[in-house]
């Protein structure tokens, strides 16, 4: 079973190796497999303009420290994929923003942990940990730019995505902007779909309410 570790500026020094593994995995997946042309291979790693110090990472680690899955959350007060690159995906309804709104980006599962035709447990752990994090931190709304065909899958997890604009064709992909509210029900539904019955989020060296930006909204 994969534990999902929260990594942000406050505890990043504990996870330098895991963060580096994750940048290498992102290169393999987004540049190697998916061939996103906008991305740059930086010495075997994929790092973009949104890997700033306020970014929050959730990394699925095996007991020996191997990264097998993960995602990145961005504060909506900073530049994000949606606000800086694809604002037209939210042209109709506008982007939700504020200290209690995060943007979901770079959700991945390493190839060896994907399960043909089935939901990958390593990915489910990350999604459940993300919802746990949102509930603990008081995140009201999540938003995302993703491939449009993901929307029925997200709905199948029990999330209720709201479309923010018409789908946009880009570089051979059809992208859609959507938002949803993380709730206890969403977490329960997602756990049920994956057959996960325990909390997945691990905090080392950082208490709830101590990540930048989100903490600012809650406590400042």
């Amino acid at each position: 079973m994969v534990d999902v570790h929260l990594v942000c500026a406050e505890n990043r020094h504990l996870y330098e190796d895991a963060i580096d593994q994750h940048h290498r995995i992102r290169r393999d997946i987004y540049i190697g497999e998916q061939r996103w042309r906008a991305l740059v291979d930086r010495d075997g790693r994929e790092v973009d303009q949104f890997d700033y110090k306020q970014a929050i990472y959730l990394l699925g680690l095996e007991p020996d420290g191997t990264v097998v899955s993960g995602t990145r959350l961005l504060p909506s007060s900073r530049p994000t994929l949606m606000s800086a690159v694809f604002p037209e995906t939210a042209a109709l309804r506008g982007m939700p923003d504020g200290p209690d709104v995060l943007e979901w980006t770079r959700f991945f599962v390493v190839a060896s942990r994907r399960e043909e035709g089935r939901l990958a447990q390593a990915g489910g752990a990350v999604l459940c940990a993300m919802l746990e994090y949102c509930l603990e931190e008081g995140v009201r709304t999540m938003r995302a730019v993703g491939e449009a065909w993901w929307m029925p899958r997200v709905m199948g997890l029990g999330w209720r995505p709201r479309p923010l604009g018409l789908p946009v064709e880009h570089d051979g992909y059809t992208l859609a902007g959507f938002a949803w509210d993380p709730t206890e029900e969403t977490l329960a539904a997602t756990r049920a779909v994956y057959g996960i019955s325990r909390p997945c989020l691990v905090r080392r060296g950082v208490r709830a309410g101590r990540c930048p930006e989100v903490a600012h909204g809650l406590h400042g």
């Binding site: 109709l92 309804r93 035709g117 089935r118 939901l119 491939e147 449009a148 065909w149 929307m151 029925p152 899958r153 709905m155 199948g156 997890l157 209720r160 709201r162 479309p163 018409l166 789908p167 059809t174 859609a176 779909v193």
Partner: protein, 246 residues
């Protein structure tokens, strides 16, 4: 189509997506979708799971307004395995017009005939939105009529709407069938899985190392839980509810 009219249709589509969750019956949902889609020349639509090539399509439909005579003719002749539109759903993630589904005469000798006869039943032009659900099962939203008029923005709006329609139709179908029902036992799932693979009940018993009578009992219990009428119906229903996979 003026820009303003185009924009008004997109707005209407988004408003409709917001409300689909509230419909209580399949009829309400069907009427609301048709009411909107008629503006683009759509007279019929179906939201359906995509079965294996040798199967009938009708039992896999989730919510439809589809010509009865055409569906009966289509299933009687096993046209699904010759249908280029159904086939193309497995080749793309993006919406496509029926006319753009490639015809491969080698793989589907009757493809042109299927499309021609569909046109005779009022389904001359159509649009498909393939849907991949969370368990990797495949479904499609397909809408058709004599002549479709879809601007690029209308197509994009229908694309999104299809996902919401599929979600709402699944929710209603589950509620209609079930109420809270007892889950299938692992053994009941085993029996249905082997039946789905084409084994007879006798073979299933041998495979699982249980008697014919026990296999029959597992099937009967599964049938009672799913509210189905016979073995085939039970297998289809178990597949559709994602209790088993092929």
């Amino acid at each position: 189509m003026t820009i303003d009219a185009d924009f008004a249709q997109v707005r209407t589509a988004f408003d409709l997506m917001d409300t689909l969750d509230r419909f209580q019956t399949g009829d309400e949902l069907r009427d609301a979708l048709l009411g909107f889609l008629r503006g683009f020349g759509v007279t019929h639509f179906t939201i359906t799971q995509l079965p294996q090539p040798r199967e009938r399509l009708g039992p896999h439909m989730i919510l439809s307004h589809w010509p009865q005579a055409w569906l009966a003719h289509y299933d009687r002749n096993r046209y699904y395995r010759h249908d280029p539109v159904g086939r193309h759903c497995f080749a793309t993630l993006d919406p496509f017009l029926w006319a753009h589904a490639p015809i491969d005469v080698g793989a589907q000798p009757l493809a042109a005939r299927v499309m021609g006869e569909a046109a005779e039943h009022g389904l001359a032009e159509g649009i498909c939105i393939p849907i991949h659900d969370v368990a990797g099962f495949q479904a499609v939203f397909s809408a058709a009529g004599e002549r479709l008029e879809l601007s690029p923005n209308a197509r994009r709006a229908v694309h999104l709407l299809a996902y919401y329609a599929h979600g709402a139709a699944l929710r209603l179908a589950r509620r209609r069938r079930s109420g809270p029902r007892a889950a299938l036992s692992p053994r009941e799932r085993d029996v249905l899985t082997w039946l789905a693979a084409g084994q007879t009940l006798g073979q299933v018993g041998a495979t699982l190392g249980i008697s014919d009578a026990t296999a029959t009992t597992h099937l009967r219990r599964a049938r009672e839980k799913l509210g189905t009428s016979n073995a085939t119906h039970t297998v289809v229903e178990a597949l559709r509810q994602h209790e088993i996979r092929l």
